[in-house]
């Protein structure tokens, strides 16, 4: 048997409040009556002369009493509401309902003829109606199933709290996974069963959640009743940018290629306008029609102005009506890898700089070059951040700890060379070796050279019968490239091959993929090289709080739920890098998902109250509206009535 429980003030406080207010009101009524009783003899005469006056006074007294009564009732209702009374369910009564809502990206899809209403909006409406029908002793929890699960509202018997949580649901930009959310639902139901409350889980989805079947099976195995409700089906039209990425050409990092893939999930041909902007400047625009089911892959290698941040956008040709049901996948971003500065140390003989080497290194603005004499190098007098050392006509006795390019090694140091040979030629070349990419040395004229003495594991890249002129290998776990002659005593610097050879050597010695910047996929772990211990990601055009990320061993791992462009900020400085996130999976763009076995349609589910779970309270559920709401509603009604009657003179 249920009783009454107070969530606010207790009965003594309620009684006191009512007593005080009622006393005050009554006294005020009494005070008013005494003041009006003034004895005037001839008035009594008139009173006797006018017999109706007695009736009028009686009526006036009654009106006054009615007014007092009404106000006392109002005071009583308000005082009773102070306790926030509620019918307490008996122990073990009532169901536990765990509502799991798919908040994956596809739930942002607009419904056909829905006036801009999305799948999630529709689910929200359905759930608010669902909660309004719950019994007084029922409890409800709201979980969101996005890329990860989130508890939007823990188990509560407060309908307003659950309703507020449902209103707060937002669809993410990521694919959804039902495994974690349904596992939590299972856990909540286990708790409910400990309290002997029947529990059931309801999943509201458009059918696009991953791991759904396995998670459902696990729930059913545990005896938890599940109900899957699908949002409206059909074939919503959708076209999407399913891939966008930009990459610099390895051989010429100043040029880049853009890969774009458009997919149609629409049942009919879709005309659209594709526009591509680079750093906000439009660089390409075209109108095309995508056939149903088409997957169009395009590459653009001639987009002038493609520099750093690229945005591709699909729009209807007229630019008016929405293109399709899901706007999220009509925009994608890509970025070109920022070119990293390579930090070089050039060691030359004292007072004898190699102008040809300097000129070759000047061509690439992304080289940070520090020059030192051999003596200063041997003293360690150079910045510690150098990544590569170029020995120009000098050879220190000890092999360097950095990758090195040796030009004209002298033979007195760590790199062994043979006896000088006159007028050597490049008769033998390993044309496929990366050192010789875009380089032909066959007709280079050289005055003299000291051939490189190879050790096991070294590679002779080019040379002649008398010895190796260009070699690469490893000494003490550090790679090297050696050119056996002084370029100043050859016509090599006069050729375009010279700077290319230098850059080929640098690329070989500092292998690093500088061509491709990582693009994050929403809802998936994204890994980013980050030297700082921590940083924040600020989404452009979004007032949401910055996302804090931390680096471990130079790599930051994080997940982004929203697609778009993020500025990466370290140490409270201005943004020093851009991170882009695109929709992870084209599955989210495929809006006509296959139906799920045993699932109900949302409109059917709205009209049909689910059967109570086994062992559930099958008695009609009482209203879960709190009693104080009824009390206050009554007080408002009484006050309104009293106000009207008072000013119309029916009460005084």
């Amino acid at each position: 048997m249920s009783g009454l429980e107070l969530l606010g003030l207790g009965w003594p406080e309620i009684a006191a409040a009512f007593g005080l207010s009622a006393t005050a009101i009554t006294l005020l009524y009494l005070v008013r009556r005494r003041r009006r009783v003034v004895t005037v003899p001839f008035v009594a005469l008139f009173a006797r002369a006018l017999p109706d006056e007695r009736t009028t006074r009686l009526f006036s007294r009654l009106k006054s009493l009615l007014s007092l009564l009404l106000l006392l009732l109002v005071a009583a209702a308000i005082a009773a509401a102070l306790g926030l009374p509620r019918v307490a369910p008996p122990p073990g009564e009532g169901r536990t309902l765990v509502l799991v809502v798919d908040v994956s990206a596809s739930m942002q899809a607009r419904l056909a003829g829905g006036g801009g209403e999305t799948r999630l909006d529709r689910v929200r409406r359905a759930l608010l109606a669902r909660i309004a029908r719950l019994g007084a002793s029922d409890r409800v929890a709201v979980l969101a199933a996005g890329a990860r699960a989130d508890v939007v509202e823990p188990l509560t018997d407060e309908a307003p709290l659950a309703a507020r949580a449902i209103r707060a649901l937002r669809a993410s930009d990521a694919p959804g996974d039902g495994r974690e959310a349904l596992a939590w639902a299972r856990d909540l139901c286990r708790d409910a069963e400990r309290e002997r409350r029947p529990c059931e889980a309801e999943l509201y989805t458009d059918g696009g959640l991953r791991s759904l079947a396995e998670a459902r099976a696990a729930l059913e195995e545990d005896g938890v009743s599940t109900r899957v409700v699908l949002t409206p089906e059909g074939e919503p039209p959708n076209v999407a940018i399913t891939a966008l990425s930009a990459r610099r050409f390895p051989a010429d990092p100043t040029r880049a290629e853009l890969l774009l893939e458009l997919s149609s999930f629409a049942p009919a041909p879709t005309p659209l306008t594709l526009s591509i902007a680079s750093d906000g400047r439009l660089v390409h625009r075209e109108t095309l029609t995508l056939a149903p089911g088409a997957r169009l892959r395009r590459t653009f290698s001639d987009l002038v102005g493609v520099d750093a941040l690229i945005e591709a956008r699909l729009a209807p040709p007229e630019g008016s009506a929405p293109l399709d049901a899901l706007a999220l996948d009509d925009v994608a971003h890509a970025q070109l890898a920022p070119r990293r500065r390579r930090r070089l140390l050039v060691v030359s003989p004292e007072g004898s700089a190699n102008l040809y080497l300097g000129a070759a290194l000047l061509i690439d603005p992304y080289l940070d070059v520090v020059e030192r004499s051999l003596a200063r190098y041997e003293r360690g007098d150079y910045p510690s951040d150098r990544e590569l050392v170029v020995f120009d006509r000098v050879t220190p006795p000890i092999a360097p700890r950095l990758p090195s390019l040796s030009l004209a090694p002298t033979g007195a140091g760590w790199l062994e060379v043979g006896a000088p040979i006159a007028r050597p030629r490049f008769d033998v070349e390993r044309a496929e070796h990366p050192l010789l990419a875009f380089v032909a040395l066959r007709d280079v004229n050289i005055a003299a050279a000291r051939p490189i003495v190879l050790r096991p594991g070294d590679t002779s890249v080019a040379g002649e019968a008398r010895g190796t002129l260009l070699a690469t290998g490893v000494r003490g776990d550090v790679p090297f490239v050696a050119l056996a002659f002084d370029v100043q005593e050859s016509d090599l610097p006069m050729r375009i091959a010279w700077p290319i050879l230098v850059f080929d050597a640098l690329s070989l010695l500092l292998p690093d993929d500088l061509t491709l910047a990582p693009t994050c996929a929403s809802g998936r772990v994204c890994r980013l090289g980050l030297e700082a211990p921590s940083a924040t990601l600020v989404r452009r055009g979004d007032a949401a709080a910055p996302i804090a990320i931390a680096s471990r061993a130079g790599v930051a791992s994080f997940e982004l739920d929203r697609v778009g462009v993020y500025d990466l900020v370290t140490d409270a400085r201005a943004a020093d890098r851009v991170v882009v996130a695109n929709l992870a999976s084209s599955d989210e763009s495929r809006l006509d998902l296959p139906p799920i076995e045993g699932a109900e349609r949302l409109d059917e589910a709205l009209t049909a109250e689910p059967e109570p779970a086994s062992g559930a309270d099958e008695a009609p559920s009482r209203a879960r509206w709190p009693l104080h709401v009824a009390l206050l509603a009554a007080a408002l009604a009484l006050l309104a009535f009293e106000w009207i009657t008072f000013h119309r003179g029916w009460t005084t």
Partner: protein, 910 residues
């Protein structure tokens, strides 16, 4: 505009009423709009005031009714009293509506709701877990009985997933059990998000994490940001304790390039939490690596490397497995990480199997292939391995001048299967290959890139056939009749363009049917009937007669079939045949009975470039004749000097100056086929010389000239011939040194990530490249326990393809990928990713830094002892909780009610 003063009192009154109603309606609308804008998810004034039922505020839109209903009041209130009453009643209505909206404020509170998360993953030792249990029990003891005023405490354990634990009464033991059914992992981020479901409303939220901080899945740092937003303060207790003794294998290295048969060093990486002694074993393909395969080593605390010298086996994928066994079992906690398996690719020179009926004639070709750095194995067609595994050790098979009758049906199927599985099947021509070899209609012919049908040249007589039949006395009876029947049948199958001659011989030769067109079938049939047995056996005159007649013929193919059943030892027969051969007349010998001179007949066929048949059953004579006639009759063989012309510039012909290639002396006439077959070279007569077609994973190449030197002697001496044949055989070869394309395979978050770069020789992106990979493993499992799947890598960027595959089994995997461009195989690649054991077993030391970061970001602290501090409220912090303020508003409403009564009772009109 009307003049109001001109209106009567009634009109003025009704206009005023209308104006009031209008003003009230406008005010109501404005209030409703204001409320809608104000009640953003029930938040007012930022986060300071929340409304649990914000929709109730829409009742405020009824407030303008209060003054409206008071208009024209008959209550007898003074002017001040009336206005004050309206104000107070409006406030009273407003207060009641606000109470219906259920306001709550964030207030300081000392009541806390704490969620305790205990890490029960395998990386937390039993001692550390016991310590955690003691701490949580101390917390519960400090909390006391679970009354409504006492701090609320909820407990959950977590490993790969979080799980609620029933909170025991104070003093009762706490059950913290490990999640044995789960895959070993620690997902702290998931536990942090799950904790939200355990809080009690209206209380300050606390979170206490007892963990070693080893996070193997999820993103705790991302999850803690959400906790900050919800005002949760996180305290942590790193479960460090004394490091439990543990040994683990963390890696197995070997050189990238391992050549078949060569020794190499395999380096086993061992990690020990403290100095200990252990045995390390290394296995190759399940067998201990020799006597040196077991090492007992002293391990220092930290990382150690144990090297093994291993001799590589044959080419292909080999499995290396390291195992660790602690000398003292107490030194090791997890046996799961005592095993590490990797697949190694052993490379060697590509292997080519040459199948030829006469292997000794392949010497020149073998020298060419060896000069191209190919390992060559020459066998007779019967030597084709029957086992698929043995066959797959070859990269290419050359079927040189082999007739169909020397290849069994199963061998033929094996050859086709070999090509389909990724090998190169190179079918070389010769007088006994393609059509002349009787391959029409075979399964091999169906997959050839050239057609064998209708291949006869129509511009000249194709065949001049001489049947030289022994008519000695021993042939009398059935033999002779069958010989005549065979001759007649032969005449029937020949084309009208062919020419036929029948010579009967005993001691002398007689032209029974002079050389004439096969179109004269009636006359030929009649003349054959004249063949009758008599006399002895003298082959020479008969062959000589055939030689003289055929030498005068202009037919492209001139052939003699010699049938005899007798013994003869005539001198000069072989020399005669040799001379005939010199004039491009071929001779086939058929011996009937057991008395024939096998040596002579074999030699005749051998020297004569034909076939030798021996049969004791005369009834087989017609079949032999028909087969011969069919074979030579359909052979569109061109035997003349022909120039090679390039039909299409294929990758396989790169770097070859074919305009300077030597002339060929002949080839088998075939016809080019359409796509997917590709004609690469043709003769100056327009016939296919070289054609290729992809066949599933492999390809079939047809070279219609020969490789035995009869037609290609000059080509085999050409300096570029090693490159020519090498490129044809190696181009789409299986993984091998020099042919491998880039493929990276790594394991990330329980997923195998395959990525391949697609560049051409000029470092331009190959936008049309496709990569299909086959993933197999774990290699140390039985075949039925292995995963064997094919995945297509999808382009994710210019020149970059990628595929992701979830892995649910631990071990070493082998990945073999085929790279294609526009359907043509570019090459293959191989990778050996390893997914040794759960990451949970790889990290031996706790990571308190992560826990401290979580505490710092939420204003929490590190709780080493005194867990009751979780409930404390310090001055520096604010414990905030939502408190419902409806009673306060209702008290205010009561006060307003009294004031309202006071005003209306005291401020009456005089």
């Amino acid at each position: 505009m009307d003049d109001v003063s001109a209106l009567g009192p009634k009109e003025r009154s009704s206009r005023r009423a209308l104006a009031r109603v209008g003003a009230a309606t406008l005010a109501a609308a404005l209030i409703a709009i204001f409320v809608r804008a104000l009640s953003d998810e029930g938040r007012l004034a930022g986060d300071a005031l929340r409304l649990l039922a914000p929709d109730a505020l829409f009742l405020l839109a009824a407030l303008p009714l209060v003054p409206l209903l008071a208009a024209g009041s008959r209550a007898g209130l003074s002017r001040l009293g009336g206005r004050l009453s309206v104000l107070l009643r409006t406030l009273l209505f407003g207060a009641l509506v606000l109470a219906l909206a259920r306001p709550s404020t964030r207030e300081d509170t000392t009541r806390t709701s704490s969620v305790v998360l205990v890490d029960v993953s395998p990386s937390v030792s039993d001692d550390a877990l016991a310590h955690a249990r003691a701490l949580v029990e101390a917390l519960l003891a400090a909390r006391g009985e679970a009354t409504s005023d006492a701090p609320h405490v909820a407990i959950a354990t977590f490993a790969g997933e979080p799980r609620r634990v029933e909170t025991p009464r104070a003093g009762a033991p706490l059950a913290l059990t490990r999640h044995d059914a789960e895959r070993p992992a620690t997902d702290l981020g998931s536990a942090l998000r799950y904790a939200e479901s355990l809080y009690q409303p209206g209380r300050a939220r606390r979170l206490w994490i007892l963990s070693d901080g080893v996070e193997t899945r999820g993103q705790a740092l991302s999850a803690v940001a959400s906790l900050c937003d919800r005002g949760v303060r996180v305290s942590v207790t790193p479960l460090e304790g004394p490091i439990a003794s543990e040994l683990a294998l963390t890696g197995l290295d070997f050189p990238e390039l391992i050549r078949a048969g060569q020794p190499f060093d395999a380096r086993v990486h061992v990690r020990a939490s403290r100095a200990s002694r252990a045995r390390v074993r290394l296995f190759r393909d399940g067998r201990l690596v020799g006597l040196e395969g077991v090492r007992e080593v002293d391990l220092r605390a930290g990382e150690d490397v144990v090297s093994f010298r291993v001799t590589a086996g044959e080419r292909g994928v080999t499995e290396l497995r390291a195992e660790l066994e602690p000398v003292d079992p107490a030194d090791d906690r997890f046996p799961e990480n005592n095993r590490f398996v990797r697949a190694a690719e052993i490379v060697g020179r590509p292997r080519v199997l040459v199948l030829a009926p006469e292997p000794n004639r392949m010497e020149a070709f073998v020298r060419v292939l060896e000069a191209a750095e190919l390992d060559v194995d020459v066998r007779a067609p019967r030597g084709l391995p029957s086992e698929r595994a043995a066959l797959s050790s070859f990269d290419a098979i050359v079927l040189a001048d082999t007739p169909a009758d020397q290849v069994s049906a199963s061998s033929e199927a094996s050859l086709v299967a070999f090509a389909r599985a990724g090998g190169v099947l190179f079918v070389a021509g010769g007088p006994r290959a393609f059509g002349p070899g009787g391959w029409q209609g075979s399964s091999l012919a169906r997959v050839l890139p050239v057609s064998l049908d209708g291949e006869r040249r129509r511009d000249s007589p194709s065949l001049a056939l001489a049947l030289v039949i022994d008519r000695s006395g021993s042939m009398a009876g059935e033999k002779m009749e069958l010989a005549k029947e065979a001759a007649r049948a032969t005449a029937e199958v020949l084309s009208p363009d062919d020419a036929l001659e029948v010579i009967g011989f005993d001691t002398v030769a007689e032209r029974i049917v002079p050389l004439q067109s096969a179109a004269n079938r009636v006359a030929i049939q009649r003349d054959i009937g004249r063949l009758a047995p008599r006399g002895g056996t003298a082959i020479f005159p008969a062959l000589d007669a055939a030689y003289q007649d055929l030498a005068a013929s202009r037919a492209a193919t001139r052939h003699v079939i010699l049938l005899t059943d007798g013994q003869t030892n005539e001198p000069g027969v072989v020399e005669l045949v040799h001379a005939m051969r010199g004039d491009r007349i071929t001779v086939t010998s058929v011996g009937v009975g057991s008395d024939v001179n096998r040596t002579l007949l074999s030699e005749i066929a051998d020297v004569g470039g034909g076939r030798a048949y021996f049969t004791a059953d005369p009834s087989s004579i017609p079949r032999i004749f028909l087969r011969e006639a069919s074979t030579v009759g359909q052979s569109g063989v061109v035997e003349s000097l022909v120039r090679i012309e390039v039909a299409s510039r294929a990758h396989a012909l790169r770097g070859l100056d074919l305009a300077r290639a030597p002339l060929l002396r002949g080839y088998v006439v075939t016809q080019a086929r359409g796509a997917p077959s590709e004609l690469l070279l043709r003769s100056e007569l327009g016939d296919p010389l070289l054609a290729r077609r992809p066949l599933d994973e492999g390809s079939v190449v047809a070279w219609t000239s020969d490789v035995a030197g009869r037609w290609s002697a000059d080509l085999l001496r050409w300096p570029a011939s090693p490159r020519f044949f090498s490129q044809l055989l190696r181009d789409p070869l299986r993984p091998s040194e020099g042919a491998a394309l880039p493929l990276e395979a790594r394991v990330e978050d329980d997923e195998l990530v395959l990525s391949a770069d697609a560049f051409d020789e000029r470092d331009e992106f190959r936008s049309n490249e496709t990569v299909r990979a086959r993933v197999e493993g774990p290699l140390d499992r039985r075949a039925d326990e292995r995963v064997s799947v094919e995945v297509e890598l999808a382009p994710i960027a210019p020149g970059r393809l990628e595929a992701r595959l979830p892995l649910d089994r631990y071990g070493a995997y082998s990945v073999e990928a085929i790279h294609r461009e526009d359907g043509v195989v570019l090459g293959t690649s191989h990778a050996s990713p390893v997914f040794p054991y759960p990451a949970e077993y790889a990290r031996l030391e706790p990571d308190p830094a992560l826990l401290r970061t979580l505490a710092e970001r939420t204003g929490g602290e590190v709780l080493v002892d005194h867990p009751e501090r979780l409930f404390e409220h310090t001055r520096e912090e604010r414990l905030e909780a939502d408190t419902e303020r409806t009673p306060l508003v209702l008290l205010a409403a009561l006060a307003l009610l009294v004031l309202d009564v006071l005003a209306r009772r005291t401020l009456r009109a005089s």
